[in-house]
Amino acid sequence: MTLTTARTSFPSPYDLHAPDAAEGWKALYPYNLVFQDNLKDVENDKFWFCDSQHWPNVFKPFETIGVEFAVKCLGQYNTRHYLIPPANGIEFRIHNGYCYMSPVAVAPEDIAARVAPFTERAGHYFANWDTLLEQWHGKVLGTIRDLESISFPALPDVVPLEDITSGRGLDPTFDLLASYDRLIQDCYRNWQYHFEFLNLGYVAYLDFFGFCQEVFPGIPDLAVAKMVQGVDSVLFRPDDELKKLAGLAVTLDLVGAFVPDAGADAILAALAATPRGDEWIAAWEAAKDPWFNFTSGNGFYASDEYWIDNLSLPMGYVVDYVERAARGEELRRPVADLITERDRITGEYAELLDPAVREAFEGKLGLARQVYPYVEDHNFYIEHWTMGVFWRKARELSHMLFDAGFWNRPDDMFYLTREEVRQALFDLSTGWGVGAKAIGPSYWPQEIERRRAIVEALESERPQPVLNTPPAVITEPFTVMLYGITTEQVARWLGADEEDGDGIRGMAASPGVVEGLARVITGADQLHDIQQGEILVAPVTAPSWGPIFGKISAIVTDIGGMMSHAAIVCREYGLPAVTGTGSASTRITTGMRLRVDGANGTVTILDGE
């Protein structure tokens, strides 16, 4: 590949305008989240990358809560809790409806002073990891239970008599606003907890990773990932539960009840009428809590579907598994093989080292392995379970306001920012309190239509991956490990305009070579199109797509580093994967014949069809 023109930077957000039909889009989002005109010079000095891994779609105004809570809390642990010496947090903005990030470095003269507090604070967590983590589980589950207790009933015609006789002196709108504040605060609380361990987990991983690069120059990233990664994460329990249920169906001789596309209700009814079907139903019910708190999305969008709210989703996967189990197919992940391979790799590298160096290798590896489970497991508790409850309650509120005439469609609340929702609640409360009509029903419906059109217009264009000039060095651990933004990745973007022939490069995320037909997917709703043996190509994947991993032969994604969920999941499923290709999902079309080499990070289009 020859570069005819070498690019050194990318467009400025100030020069990248939204489609005409999206005019006025900036007003949809909080003022601090958009690029301000009077800050042009400051903002143009920074390099911004689009996080289409977590936020592949345009934000509805309410949905900024996800990026605001997540990325702000990520930053605070680097900047204010543990004082990671070379790295503060990540700034974020919304541009043309998509999310852009910029890592904040620590001024060189300030770095040395952070070492001592870092040593004390991070040292405390590393030294007491297991105890603190057990405590964490209690805190997180406590918040989830509190969230589950929230409700948004419609306002009654009169204050309940018991509130009068008890001398309460407060009305139901007081409780309504308190419930809303609790909804938002509980969400904020668990996002704070989300990062309590994650940043340190990445630090320990990067420490081991850097050490390996020193003692084994040129060691493949994949080798380090395989040495550290566990083989059983809480993230795979939901899929493993479905497989167990499928096995149970075969054992109990219930295969006939599992009719494709029948839906959960019909199948459960059929089972109730079949001998021993009730045993299966009991097992199904037991699996729901907590394992059906699982989304086929990623937890950041109000429209994400959760198994527990859409039982036909998990039931559909069970039907597929039952069919395969009945054929005698092995459903379980190759856990034993993964362990054998991990031990082989670790042992062979360790053998190459002098005893003193080997001791450090084993010490650092030991810490990385101790902290690593959190890197995967937390995702289930926060993104899946917590956000599942959060969105369910939020939809409940949206429906209550819909019933009160505030908008045209039940889920339209998400076209308001969370501050506007609070204002709308007070509008509702005022109308109720004074005995007049709230203003909302005559204000919001047309405003929401205006906003809906803007969001659709923004969605008509995919985001530019990178803005402004990339730096020589990136030190913030997440930027490197999760997003895969390395110097090499930047170079790939810079060269992306040049035709690489029929070749696409990305992270060598999970080894194996396969050839097959491409299936390009841009959302979870298209998963059912996938045919056996196809190669899944997507902007980003979600761990909850696990149940279809048994059908596909490889995965290719646009964005994601070694520690992205797609990479982690593929390694544990033994599926070849190339992540972080930049634009594979737009260069490849469904039906193209591909060759994917997961150990070398290449994807070749074999024919132009």
């Binding site: 040292g123 003692v215 994949l222 450090a360």
Partner: protein, 353 residues
């Protein structure tokens, strides 16, 4: 019965002073399951029987009073000795054993095939082959008559000018001087080369370094062609670095004519001469040799065009790597682990990623 020959796939214990370094290694690697082309050794006992007491005495006479500074005289005496060896009658039992082994080898190969005939010395007796001045490897030898002739030539190479001078200068006595000769099926090499299970540029033991070019490996070993170079991670068998060179010439097997040295066509000159799968197979071969011997190895290998893809890599030689393996390991300072070392490595990351 005296063992005048020894098949590479024999299960008997190979003795270094009967088979010499090269043949001993080939027997051991065959026993270890490596893909070694079939062949046999004509042992040192055969050489001893050929020379016999009489010829040895005659050679000693020729060498008496040798002045190594008088190169003309050394050359004259060496030529006389070599002629004596070339014309010496081979005892019947040695001859019969050699012919029987040759015919058994042809049968194994499904009919008459060309062979390579190579000296296999016990190391102390000969200087490095590159100084010999006379070939100690004969490629593409066909037919019994020619094979027997080349075996004699290998025996005679013990008495090149250089070899004689070397032994004289190093006080190596001719008493008991002997040599084995290897006879091995020729490989129809599409690609060949060498591989080391240690990076020769820096002693990094986590790497396998492969040099490869088109045709037979002789041009790579002699340095007459610039080979493709691959640095491979030994554990993952993934490519860390690859350098594809302009491979201008190749030595190939050309059916009837035997060996042919020719320029490489333009397209293939800069095409990699190994696919990634083939490269991994070479790396696995080198790794197995290292594991067998328990120390870094320097191997010669080839891709045999007559074997099926996926099973076409053969091992031609394995010998110990000598440069880095013999260096006294400098004890490394203990780097430590724990929070202080983590803090240090975080600071070191600035400017390196």
């Amino acid at each position: 019965m005296t063992a005048y020959t020894f098949a590479f796939d024999s299960t008997d214990e190979p003795l270094h002073d009967r088979l010499g370094g090269k043949c001993t290694s080939l027997v051991k690697m065959t026993a270890a399951g490596s893909p070694v082309p079939p062949g046999f050794a004509v042992t040192t006992l055969a050489f001893d029987a050929v020379l016999g007491a009489g010829l040895r005495a005659h050679i000693a006479e020729q060498l008496a009073g040798l002045d190594t500074q008088d190169t003309v005289d050394v050359a004259r005496r060496a030529a006389v000795i070599r002629t004596l060896i070339m014309e010496q009658q081979v005892p019947d039992d040695v001859r019969h054993a050699t012919i029987a082994s040759y015919e058994a080898l042809m049968a194994t190969c499904g009919g008459e095939v060309a062979v390579a005939v190579r000296s296999s010395a016990t190391a102390e007796d000969l200087p490095d082959a590159s100084f010999a001045g006379q070939q100690d490897t004969y490629l593409w030898v066909t037919g019994l008559t020619d094979v027997l002739h080349k075996i004699r030539e290998c025996w005679a190479s013990l008495y090149t000018d250089r070899a004689i001078s070397y032994r004289a200068a190093n006080d190596i006595s001719d008493d008991g001087l002997s040599m084995a000769v290897g006879v091995q099926k020729m490989v129809n090499a599409r690609t060949s080369g060498v591989a080391m299970t240690i990076d020769p540029s820096n002693g990094d033991r986590s790497k396998i370094v492969v040099d490869a070019s088109w045709g037979l490996g002789e041009l790579v070993v002699s340095g007459e062609v610039t080979p493709d170079n691959f640095v491979i991670d030994k554990v993952m068998l993934s490519v860390v670095r690859r350098t594809i060179s302009d491979k201008a010439e190749e030595l190939v097997v050309d059916g009837v004519a035997g060996l042919l040295r020719r320029t490489v066509d333009a397209e293939r000159r800069t095409t990699p001469c190994l696919s990634d799968d083939e490269l991994a197979a070479v790396a696995r071969l080198a790794k197995a040799a290292e594991r067998y011997y328990g120390s870094p190895q320097d191997i010669e290998w080839a891709l045999d065009a007559d074997l099926p893809a996926g099973a076409n890599v053969v091992l031609l030689q394995s010998r110990p790597e000598t440069v880095w393996s013999q260096r006294a390991a400098t004890p490394a300072a203990a780097p430590g682990f724990g929070i202080d070392s983590i803090a240090r490595s975080l600071l070191a990351q600035i400017g390196t990623r």
